[in-house]
Every structure is written in structure tokens, then in C-alpha cells.
């Protein structure tokens, strides 16, 4: 393999790893990927959509506080717009059918599957992805909680799990109920939210590594509860005697 090709591969891999590790919630900050389609001074949304649009159309999306303008066909999902057009690859494509939760993002603070909505339908809304959670090198408390509680193994479902967990915390504060809530008019608050409630409320996110115990512990920590010690810590303590 010629050396220039290796160099190119190396750069690409570094960029990929940087993003993947950020997605997994480590403190490594991914290099900011410049999007060739985005304009600094984007045009306001809500262009005329009352006449049929066919083919590529300028669509303005607000993502992590920044305005992006992309030319996409109406059939492009929000997930594909994020990953394929805006290089925001922290949001993952798992099943692409709304069954796994890897593509979970926040829209106006609510969690949705970005694979099941058309990007053009999310104009004018505020979209938050995993890339928008940390403040500089300061992780979002839920990101930190996932690291501290072994809330992942391979990390692929993690961006979706973290976005879903952040929305979960907000839903609990707002008094939203779940299928296992005993008293519907008065759902449990952060301090009393049971493990069964956390599992039900996060059931729209699958983890094929089955890191569920760590994920539940991370959410318990983020709720202000005391999570159990990670299994790995118990083993270390036992070995150390």
C-alpha cells in the first residue's frame, strides 16, 4: 500500500475513533467536522412549503444551537441528514426501523427516533444530538454517569441511551407516567423512581452487549439516587481481599 494511502487511512481512522469515543462518553473531544453544506448565515426556516417540493430542496435545521442548511430530498430521514449530510455521526443507525433506539435524539427537549421522521418535517425545531451535550471538555452529568457506572461495552447504542436518559430525567421532573406507574395521577419523583420504572422508561433503547445493569445504575446516579457498586468494582475489591 502506498504511504500516502496509509496516511489518508490513518487520518480517517483517527477522526472515526475520536467521534466513536466521544459517542461512548469519554472525555476525548472529537474534532469539529466542518460541513460543506452548512452556511454560517443560514436562511430562516419555514420557506414556502405550501406548494409541492420535488427533488433536492434547501432545508434548514437547528442542531445543537447551530443552524445548518442542507439540500436534501423530502424522503431523507433526520437520521440520514445528520449522519450522511452533516457528518454528525454520533447519532447511530442500528435497525433504521424504530426498534432499537440507537438513533434517539432530542427535538425541543423530547426524545424521538431520528430514523422515523423526515428531516424536512423538523425544520424550525431545536434538535439536540450526542455532540451537543458536553460543554467544552465538561461532560453532561449523564455522560459522566454512564462512564462511572459502566453503562456500556461496545458503545454503539450509547449515544441513543444517553439522549433517552436525559429526556427520561426531564420527564420524571415533569411528572410523566409510565406503564408500570402505580398511581397514574401522581407518578414517582426522581428520588423514588424504582428500578422497574427506569427499565420500563428506557425500554425503547436496546443494548446488545446487555450493559443494562450499568445503564440503570447510571440513571440512578443521575436521578440523585445511590447506584449499586459496579460489578467490576466488587470483583476488584474481592480480589484485593
Amino acid at each position: 500500500m502506498p504511504s500516502d494511502s496509509r496516511k489518508s487511512l490513518g487520518t480517517s481512522r483517527r477522526r472515526f475513533l475520536g467521534q466513536a469515543l466521544t459517542a461512548a462518553g469519554t472525555a476525548i473531544v472529537a474534532p469539529k467536522v466542518l460541513d460543506p453544506n452548512s452556511a454560517i448565515a443560514a436562511q430562516p426556516p419555514s420557506a414556502n412549503r405550501h406548494s409541492p417540493l420535488q427533488g433536492e430542496t434547501p432545508v434548514t435545521l437547528t442542531i445543537n444551537g447551530q443552524t445548518h442548511r442542507v439540500n436534501i430530498e423530502p424522503r431523507v430521514t433526520l437520521l440520514d441528514a445528520l449522519r450522511e449530510r452533516l457528518n454528525l455521526t454520533g447519532t447511530k443507525k442500528g435497525c433504521d426501523h424504530g426498534q432499537c433506539g440507537a438513533c434517539t435524539v432530542l427535538v425541543d427537549g423530547d426524545r424521538i427516533y431520528s430514523c422515523l421522521t423526515l428531516a424536512i418535517m423538523q425544520e424550525g425545531r431545536s434538535i439536540t444530538t450526542i455532540e451537543g451535550l458536553a460543554t467544552g471538555a465538561q461532560l453532561h452529568p449523564v455522560q459522566a454517569a454512564f462512564i462511572e457506572n459502566d453503562g456500556f461495552q461496545c458503545g454503539y447504542c450509547t449515544p441513543g441511551q444517553i439522549c433517552a436518559a436525559i429526556a427520561l430525567l426531564d420527564e420524571v421532573k415533569r411528572g410523566c407516567a409510565s406503564a408500570v406507574t402505580v398511581d397514574l395521577p401522581q407518578p414517582p419523583e426522581s428520588q423514588t423512581l424504582s428500578e422497574a420504572e427506569i427499565k420500563e422508561r428506557l425500554s425503547g433503547n436496546l443494548c446488545r452487549c446487555s450493559a443494562y445493569n450499568g445503564i440503570v445504575a447510571a440513571i440512578q446516579q443521575a436521578l440523585g439516587q445511590t447506584p449499586p457498586s459496579p460489578a467490576a468494582m466488587i470483583l476488584v475489591q474481592e480480589v484485593a481481599g
Partner: protein
């Protein structure tokens, strides 16, 4: 996904007009079912008409004591509405038992009524399917039919309706308000969805281009005793094998009024008027509930792989009625 044109409607009437005057056009609101179907070429519209920006999200008390739910209200908004939690808990619980928070946050009430079966033969375009292409046959009848219908099926189609919300709406005798080119009309819930018969391609009695604008919950004081019991292959986030929505008005241990509907068993949410009629006026005893369950499953025709659903449904009915008679709550 096949490409399509996209347009936003400016009003319900405009949406109806756009769909009716454009060849092969479809409404889109939450899109959680339609986008999924577009991806596997089950639906190939030439144009989608976006109604998600329209008014019609309000959930309001109406003078007769009921509630009018705008068709664009999200599943989450309905499940968490204070009056629905208080007065129609079986509707909240049915919604919360379905899908996941991510889907419920964007899926609308109107869209929930119009979601299509998850029969794997319908979903896989490599198979024949009378629902997808009338007259091609139903491979599920001789195939893997564990998830399929035990009541009201035909030799053309054995698919089941996937919704949880609709099972509660059937029990509550809701009214579907629709708007079409010739004006507005109201459809009793039990008449909204269809059995497969010879036209399994038609899930509902909507006319082409008609748009659901609201779902109305009539007043029903004993709906506070409502229960939704969903039995499925895993604890959460999967479709029902069998589900039961019930509410019961018991006074001095005698049944004054009752509602009973089943999910996961038929091509439409299955309200059992016969079992309700049997229960009216009887003593609320385990024996009565057992007999009612047997009546509800009379005429069940299990397939190769789903005979278990008959007993499962009977047991679920007895349990749901028992808990409802005790005042309801989480099952």
C-alpha cells in the same frame, strides 16, 4: 424508499383537498408508521401531505362531561393528560403499554388509528399478501401464524390490528370525527375498523381522502375502574399477544355496567358486546367472570401456532375483570 413530493397543508380542508386532487397522495403526521412502511416499499406515494403543523392538538373537556382529543395530539400528550389519567385511566395505561416513549412523543392519535398490521408476511414484499396486493393469497394461513388472529379472520387474511390505544378506545365507545370533501361526519369506534372479509386491503371505513380530526371520549363515570392488561413475549416494547381493556361498575357486588375489549386477537380492536350483555346484572364473582371469558372467546378459530391465545385471552379477561371490580389500577 421511493422518492415523493412533499407539501404542507394550511388547514384540514386544504389537506383533504390536496390528497383528493393529487394522484396517489397520503397524509403524514407523526410518520412513525408511514416512514417505516415507505422504507420497505409497502407505501409508494407520489406525494405526502404534511398535516403535522396544523391546529388540532388540543385535548379539551366538552359540555357533556366527555373529552375531545384533537387528532394531532401526541400519544404522550393523551397518556399524561390530567383528566385522562384521572377519569379514563385505561386509555392512559393502554397508550403507555404501547411502543416506546420515543414513538409516543411524536406519534399522533389519528395516526395510531391508521397504523397497519405488523404481520411479517404483509411487511415482506417477497411474499404474497391479500392486504398488500388483493388476490395474491395469504401465506400466513399455512405459515408461521403465532401472532395472528383467532377471532373474525377470513380465508383472505388473518392479520391482527397492532394498536393498544385502540383497544381502550373500543372499550370506551369513542367516536371518531372525520372531515372529507363532503363535510364532517362522526363514526362510532366499533364501526371505524373493518374485519378482513373479502377486502383485507381496507383496514377502516374511511372514504378516500377523509382525514381524522378528533377522537371523542363520551362521559363514562365507571371508566375510573379501567384496566389494561397486555400480555407479550417480553416485558416491554413489543406488540401484544393478547390484551384486554375493561371497566366495570359494580354496586353491592352486582354488575351495573361493563365494557370489555380485546387486542391482539382480530383484524380490529375486538369489543365483546356478547360478554358485556352476559355480565350485566350478574353478581361479580369469579364464576361469572369465567363464564364471560368463555362467551368472549366463543367462535374462536385458532391456527396452527396460536391456539395458546384462546386460553391466554380467557385468563386475561378474568384477571382484568377481577382487578377492575376491585377498583382498577396497574395490572
Amino acid at each position: 424508499m421511493k422518492n415523493f413530493a412533499y407539501v404542507q397543508a394550511i388547514s384540514a380542508a386544504d389537506a383533504v383537498r390536496k390528497v383528493q386532487t393529487t394522484q396517489n397522495a397520503q397524509f403524514i403526521a407523526g410518520g412513525t408508521n408511514l416512514v417505516d412502511r415507505l422504507k420497505v416499499f409497502l407505501d409508494t406515494p407520489a406525494q405526502v401531505v404534511d398535516i403535522s403543523h396544523l391546529e388540532g392538538k388540543a385535548i379539551e373537556s366538552i359540555p357533556n362531561g366527555g373529552i375531545r382529543i384533537g387528532a394531532l395530539a401526541t400519544n404522550t400528550a393523551v397518556a399524561d393528560h390530567p383528566r385522562i389519567r384521572q377519569d379514563y385511566p385505561l386509555l392512559s395505561r393502554a397508550i403507555l403499554a404501547g411502543a416506546s416513549q420515543q414513538i409516543r412523543n411524536i406519534a399522533t392519535v389519528g395516526g395510531n388509528l391508521l397504523q397497519r398490521t405488523r404481520c411479517p408476511y404483509y411487511y415482506d414484499t417477497a411474499f404474497a399478501c391479500n392486504k398488500r396486493q388483493p388476490g395474491t393469497g395469504c401465506p400466513a394461513i399455512q405459515g408461521i401464524n403465532r401472532m395472528h388472529a383467532i377471532l373474525g379472520a377470513s380465508d383472505r387474511c388473518i392479520a391482527v390490528h397492532p394498536s393498544d390505544m385502540c383497544v381502550a378506545l373500543a372499550a370506551l365507545n369513542a367516536i371518531v370525527e372525520v372531515e372529507g370533501a363532503s363535510g364532517k361526519r362522526q363514526i362510532p369506534f366499533n364501526d371505524f375498523h373493518r374485519l378482513p372479509e373479502n377486502t383485507p386491503d381496507r383496514d377502516t371505513n374511511l372514504q378516500p381522502g377523509e382525514l381524522i380530526t378528533a377522537v371523542i371520549l363520551p362521559p363514562l363515570p365507571f371508566a375510573k375502574t379501567g384496566v389494561y392488561l397486555k400480555l407479550r413475549d417480553r416485558a416491554s416494547y413489543t406488540f401484544a399477544l393478547v390484551s384486554v381493556a375493561t371497566a366495570i361498575d359494580v354496586r353491592a357486588n352486582r354488575i351495573h355496567a361493563v365494557r370489555l375489549a380485546l387486542g391482539g386477537v382480530a383484524h380490529k380492536p375486538w369489543r365483546s358486546l356478547q360478554a358485556e350483555a352476559f355480565l350485566n346484572g350478574k353478581l361479580a364473582t369469579p364464576e361469572t367472570f369465567q363464564q364471560a371469558a368463555a362467551i368472549a372467546l366463543q367462535g374462536a378459530k385458532p391456527l396452527t401456532h396460536n391456539a395458546f391465545k384462546v386460553d391466554m385471552a380467557k385468563q386475561a379477561i378474568q384477571r382484568a375483570l377481577t382487578i377492575s371490580a376491585q377498583g382498577g389500577g396497574v395490572v
